[in-house]
C-alpha cells in the first residue's frame, strides 16, 4: 500500500485533527490515519460457495484498487471478510459483529434473499449502512439498504419474451423453495401470461434436494414448450445434470433466472449445459472496452486463481463497492446518513457492465441487461437492452416521500 508524499502530508494533518477530537481512537501507527472498516459477508463454503468465492475475489480486488488510489478521504480501507458457511444463523452473528464490534462503515453481503432478510433488520437496528449486490426478487423498500443487483422487471422481463418468441408460450417453473424462488416464480407467471402463455405448473425444491427424478417425469407429462428454472445453490445443479441424462435437452429447452450466477457453466459438461439461456445485468463475455480492461487487470493480479465471473453477482459486488466509495467521496464523510444523502443525489458510474445509475427513490440501479446462452463452459451474448430502470420496485417504493419505510413488497400474482 504506497501512499504518495502529498497524501502522507494530508493524512498527517487529518490524523493530528482526529487525535485532538478523540484520543482513544489513536490505536494505529502515527503516520497512517485510522482505517475505514468495510465488512464483507459472503459464503466461501457450503452449498453457496459457487456464488460466494467469485464475489469475495471481486470485493478484495475493488478494495485493493481503491487503496492503491489512496483510499477514501485519505484513509485506507480495511476489509474484513466473514464466511457464514451457508448457515443463516452465522449470517446474523457476523452482521451483529460487524455492526456492534467492528463498527463497520458499510456491510456488503448476503447472497440468498434468505440471508439478506436475516441481516437487513439487524443492520437497520444498529444503524450500519448495507449494500446487497445480488440479483433478487425485488420490492425491498428500506432507506438503510442499497440493492445494486438486477430485479425481475429487468431480467425476467427480458428472459420470458425471448423464451416465448423462440420456443413457445407455455412454460413449467422449477424454483428454489424460499422467498427468492417463490416471488420470482410469480414474476415469471406475470410475464408469461402477459405474453399470452400459461404456466403449466410450478414445483418448489428445498436447497438440499439432489434427486429430481420424479420432478423430471412430471415435467415430461405436462409437455411444456420450455422449462424456466429459478433453482439456487450447488445441490440443484444435479437437476440440469439429470435433465441431460434423461436426454431431454434436445426436446425441451431450459431458461433460468439464476444459471450462471456461480460457476455452474464450468461444473457442467458442455453436453449438459450448452443451450441454457439466462438474462443478467453482466456476463464476463460482454465486450465493452471497460470490461476488457477490467478483466486484464483482474487476471494479471490473480492469475490462475482468478475465478470465472459468470453472470452479474461478482461484478455487481465490485460495482457496489465503487458506488459506495463514490458516495463517501461526495459526502466527504463516512457517517451513515451523510453518505445515504450523497448516494441519493443521483450517482452514475461507467462500469465494465455499462452505465450504472443509482435511483434515489428506490435505492436500486438502472443497468444494461443482456440475454445470453451457455456455450462451451462460457456464455454467448444474444441480446442487449441498454439502461433498464428498476420499474417493479419503483412502482411501490418511494423513499423520498416515505423515508422510514421498512418493508418488502411482493407482486400480487397467483400461480
Amino acid at each position: 500500500m504506497t501512499i504518495s508524499r502529498r497524501d502522507a502530508l494530508k493524512t498527517a494533518l487529518l490524523a493530528a485533527g482526529s487525535t485532538l477530537a478523540a484520543p482513544a481512537i489513536m490505536r494505529h501507527a502515527a503516520l497512517g490515519a485510522d482505517p475505514i472498516k468495510v465488512v464483507g459477508i459472503h459464503d466461501a463454503s457450503g452449498g453457496l460457495d459457487i456464488y460466494g468465492q467469485p464475489m469475495i475475489a471481486c470485493l478484495d480486488f475493488a478494495v485493493d484498487e481503491c487503496n492503491a488510489a489512496g483510499g477514501l478521504l485519505g484513509r485506507p480501507i480495511e476489509l474484513i471478510n466473514y464466511d457464514p458457511q451457508s448457515n443463516i444463523q452465522l449470517y446474523t452473528q457476523f452482521a451483529t459483529q460487524a455492526a456492534t464490534k467492528d463498527k463497520a462503515a458499510v456491510v456488503h453481503g448476503g447472497i440468498t434473499s434468505a440471508s439478506r432478510e436475516a441481516i437487513r433488520p439487524i443492520l437497520r437496528r444498529f444503524n450500519t449502512l448495507y449494500f446487497y449486490n445480488t440479483q433478487y426478487e425485488g420490492g425491498v423498500c428500506d432507506r438503510n439498504i442499497f440493492c445494486t443487483g438486477s430485479t425481475p422487471a429487468q431480467n425476467v422481463q427480458k428472459l420470458v419474451p425471448y423464451v416465448q418468441k423462440h420456443w413457445g408460450k407455455n412454460v413449467y417453473i422449477v424454483a428454489a423453495d424460499y422467498n427468492y424462488g417463490q416471488i420470482t416464480s410469480k414474476w415469471i407467471t406475470k410475464y408469461v401470461r402477459e405474453g399470452g402463455g400459461q404456466v403449466l405448473s410450478a414445483d418448489f425444491f428445498p436447497l438440499d434436494v439432489t434427486n429430481f427424478g420424479p420432478a423430471i417425469s412430471k415435467i415430461q407429462a405436462a409437455k411444456p414448450d420450455a422449462v424456466v428454472s429459478a433453482l439456487v445453490g450447488g445441490a440443484h445443479i444435479s437437476f440440469y445434470r439429470q435433465w441431460a441424462a434423461a436426454g431431454l435437452k434436445k426436446q425441451i429447452p431450459i431458461a433460468s433466472t439464476t444459471f450462471g450466477g456461480g460457476n455452474e457453466s464450468i461444473l457442467l459438461s458442455p453436453a449438459e449445459g450448452d443451450g441454457i439461456v439466462s438474462a443478467f445485468s453482466y456476463f464476463q463475455e460482454v465486450d465493452t472496452p471497460l470490461n476488457k480492461a477490467f478483466l486484464e487487470k483482474f487476471h494479471a493480479k490473480l492469475g490462475a486463481k482468478a475465478p470465472y465471473l459468470g453472470a452479474e453477482l461478482a461484478m455487481r459486488t465490485y460495482i457496489g463497492f465503487n458506488l459506495w466509495a463514490e458516495g463517501v467521496r461526495r459526502a466527504k464523510s463516512i457517517d451513515r446518513m451523510t453518505v445515504i444523502k450523497a448516494l441519493e443525489s443521483g450517482i452514475s458510474l461507467e462500469t465494465p457492465a455499462g452505465k450504472t445509475t443509482l435511483d434515489p427513490k428506490t435505492h436500486h440501479t438502472t443497468v444494461d441487461v443482456f440475454v445470453a446462452e451457455v456455450a462451451n463452459h462460457g456464455f454467448k451474448v444474444l441480446e442487449t437492452f441498454p439502461q433498464q430502470p428498476p420499474l417493479d420496485t419503483a412502482s411501490v417504493c418511494d423513499l423520498a416521500a416515505h423515508p422510514n419505510e421498512n418493508k418488502q413488497y411482493e407482486v400480487d400474482v397467483k400461480i
Partner: protein, 288 residues
Amino acid sequence: MDYAVVVALQIVSGVATLVIVSLGLAVVFGMMRVINLAHGEFLMLGGYTAILSYGHGINLWLSILLLPPIAVGLIGAVVERLLIRRLYGRMIDTMLATWGLSLAFIGGVTMLFGNSVTGISAPFGSFAVGRFHVAGYDLFLVAASVVMSLVIWVVLKFTPAGLIARGTMQNAEMAAALGVAPDRVYAMTFAAGAALSGLAGGLIAPVSGVLPTMGTAYIAKAFITVITGGAAMLTGTLVASGLLGTVSTVFTFLTTPVFGEVALLAVAILLLRLLPRGITGRFLRRAL
C-alpha cells in the same frame, strides 16, 4: 399408460436407492448392533473415491464399482481397530464416537477437496418409454441393488465366513470357544459394512452431486429403514425399503419432494408404534 410405467420405474428406482444406501448399515447396525452415525460419511467417501479416480482417467466402471468399496473398506478396518474396538457393548459411547467421526470426516474432506459440488455425468444416456425419456442409469441402480442383496444373502447363508460372522454376532463367547477369533470377525464384518457403504456412495455419485455434507441426507433414512426392518437384517431392510421407498416416491409424485420425505418418516413412526420390534420382529421371523 406410459406415464404409469414411468411412475412405476421411478418407484422401483426410489426403492433401489434406499436399499443400496441402507445395506451397509444393515450389516454394521443390523448384525453388529453398532450404531454408526458416520455411515453417511462412508457413503460420501465412496462418492469422492469414484469422482477422483474417474477424474484421473480411470475407467468409469472401475471407479464406481471397484475402487470405492476397497477404499472405504480399508478406512472402515482402520476405524474399527482404532475406535470401534474399544466401544463394543457401549451403545451410547459408540454413538457419540461415530458422531465425532462423521464430523471429522466432513471437516477433513472439506479441507482437502474444498466444498464445491462435483459430479459425474450418468452413463447409459436415456431410453424412451412411449413419449417419456427415462435415464438408463436408474435401471442400472435397480440391477445393482438386486445384485448387492443377492451377494450378501449368498455370503451369509452359504459361505463359512458368513456363518462364522453370524455366529460370532449372536454369541461371541461361544464362537471363541469354537476356535474363532471374535476380534478378527468383528473387524472383517465392520470393514465389509463400510465397503458396502463405499460402494453405495460410488453408485449414487452420478445421480446426486458429491459434496462433503452429502452424507447427512442419507443417514436418517438409512437408520430408519434398518430399524423399521427389524431383527432379520437382510429381509427386514429389503421389506422396509420397499415399503418406505414406495410411499416416499408416491407422495413425491402426488405432492412435493418434501412431503415425500415427511411421508416416509411418518410411516416409519406408525410402523414402529404398531410393530415395536420392527417388521421382521413380527413377520418373516425365521428369515435371514
